[in-house]
Assembly symmetry: C2
Homo-oligomer: 361 residues x 2
């Protein structure tokens, strides 16, 4: 299995190993078939160019391309510019673009996926098009199409897993009103609530209260209420409080520590639920954390692992093999009938490394 052989690969071995060969220079005058992989998210868009042999040629970044926010036409325009730029960055005039494979946020419904596809076809590239959800692209990238579980935690949280039979299951991701447990939003929200409960005398005293008052220049913590409901402190900003909560916890505040512990447990529960629902042929199930919250993986991991152990599935926490844009490219290669084998993955990891200093997370 590809994923078994690549398991140990991390940033260092992929980027600095002597095996990294930059085929982009070597093949300057040969015609080359490529696919474009796109990670179209709510805050940014990334397009990568990968050859059918698995060589990473270049990438480009663009603004948000969320389908629900922009609608099909605007979204397609963002993707189009990003694709064009990625092809230019790839820097070769003899590229034959065979397929554009996009992993897009906000295309949960098949009808939305179809509308996104139609709009992309209007861009006029001489290529096949395909659209998957951003989560499927992330899952495919993380394990090069193989088995495993990704736990995504940024502003929100969600978990996806792919089992031995190719089945994909999810848990969480029900949004800020009904879910997003363990996410940045969850941590920020729980911190504000804990500070308000301190004020009320319903909860223990916590340094989160003066910390939040300082951050927003509040005379008293309850002045935060209108700012939250009037959107001055919006969901993204609440999620941005997570580092402050980690910091307060690190300084020994028991309430902040409990918020962090609960968040880690919730993230572990997301993974444990998916682990239980799938069948596995690997001896250990790989669990890859993805997203900005995992800058604090050393703090969160022990709590996550405790919940995973409860699920009774042997697991190991790993870094994702490839980022979601490369994941989308892999989906594109598969659709072109190309086998995602060991050799291709090694070449891809090495060329990603040589281009960027290491595979992305």
């Amino acid at each position: 299995m590809v994923e078994d052989r690549l398991r140990g690969m991390d940033r260092a071995t992929a980027g600095d190993g002597g095996q990294a060969v930059n085929n982009a220079d070597r093949g300057q005058f040969m015609s080359q078939d490529v696919v474009i992989g796109i990670d179209g998210g709510g805050t940014k868009t990334r397009a990568v160019v990968v050859t059918v042999e698995g060589e990473f040629l270049g990438e480009a970044l663009g603004p948000s391309s969320n389908f629900q926010v922009l609608g099909p036409e605007k979204m397609a325009r963002v993707l189009g510019e990003c694709i064009q730029q990625a092809l230019e960055v790839a820097g070769r005039k003899d590229l034959r673009l065979r397929r554009i494979s996009a992993g897009l946020a906000g295309v949960g419904r098949p009808s939305d996926r179809e509308r996104a596809l139609q709009a992309m076809r209007g861009l006029g590239f001489d290529a096949e098009y395909q659209v998957d959800s951003d989560a499927v692209a992330a899952l495919t990238g993380a394990f090069a199409g193989g088995q495993g579980i990704i736990v995504i935690a940024g502003t929100g949280s969600i978990c996806f897993g792919k089992g031995a039979d190719g089945c994909v299951e999810r848990s969480g991701g029900w949004g800020y009103l009904l879910g997003d447990e363990g996410s940045g939003y969850y941590i920020g929200q729980q911190a504000i609530i804990a500070a308000l409960k301190d004020l009320d005398g319903r909860g223990p005293a916590t340094q989160l209260r003066p910390a939040l008052e300082r951050r927003y220049g509040l005379e008293r913590i309850d002045r935060i209420i209108p700012k939250v409901y009037q959107g001055e402190i919006d969901r993204t900003e609440i999620a941005n409080l997570a580092p402050l909560v980690f910091q307060t916890a690190a300084q020994g505040d028991a309430v902040a520590q409990e918020v962090i512990q609960r968040a880690g447990e919730e993230l572990g529960k997301l993974a444990a639920a998916v682990a239980r629902r799938l069948t596995w042929s690997d001896k250990v199930v790989r669990v890859a954390p993805i997203g900005s919250l995992f800058r604090q993986i050393h703090v969160l991991a022990p709590h996550m692992e405790r919940e995973l152990r409860k699920a009774g599935v042997p697991f190991e926490m790993v870094s994702p093999m490839f980022d979601p844009a490369v994941g989308a490219a892999l989906l594109g290669l598969e659709a072109e009938g190309i086998t995602i084998d060991d050799s291709l993955c090694r070449k891809l990891a090495a060329s990603v490394g040589s281009r960027t200093g290491g595979p992305r997370e």
Copy 2:
């Protein structure tokens, strides 16, 4: 103390006691000074007419008069019509209207209170005007101006208490994103989350899942997500799920029972926090539950009482003496220099009873 003497009074003794005298008929041809008390809420408005001797003459109901939703002018129009109608219901031509005292929702800020007052003055009644928050009116009504704690739980939740020194403290009420613990919204939201966790395999199986699927005709519980975020199932509707959760709990569902238990504990914590923060000269602190959620007081009370006992303050759960509109009238009488004594409260309770079959909750 008025409140001590009236403590035992409930619907039956107030409404059916032989002391009830309907002065409205007796004083037909005597000029009579009255105040209007108004409970201006988010779903309805209620105006009551009370004489300076404490006789309840009549009441009228109108639509919502929330200041934040309607703005000052529209709000004042609703109040004006309600006042006019209440005076007509009082049915006496010799009334001298001395004061209009309104307890209004949505006038938390002094500037809003001032704007509401200005708009009311424009109604042109020959009377003094005053505006307090709906919570102060409810607290005043519940204990006839005396010591005690009210726990309000409908769509949202909040708690207010008045101590021996006249100080008023609150807890909770931070809204659906940061508070409202134990409220109808809380119960409905927790029920939906529990059903989704059942689907995910993150939580135990629960009958809440099929119950919610049936209620909304959902093929599967996760179809509820877009309905919630697109507002088809709004906050009021989520709060309206509370009876379904109580019912599922009564049928023995452990998950629903846990939701209800947590709600009761949260409501108890609201009261306990206020109990701890005030000083009391009564031997026991009266705690009055107010709001639609307390139709299930027999289920909620044991959990609330457990939290109150933890606070170490002797307490008893009581029914509110008077409703918030009468509370507003009492605030008006006080402002007119009238002492809210035992005799006035007895007369008021008796006449409320004779008019309506018992004091309101």
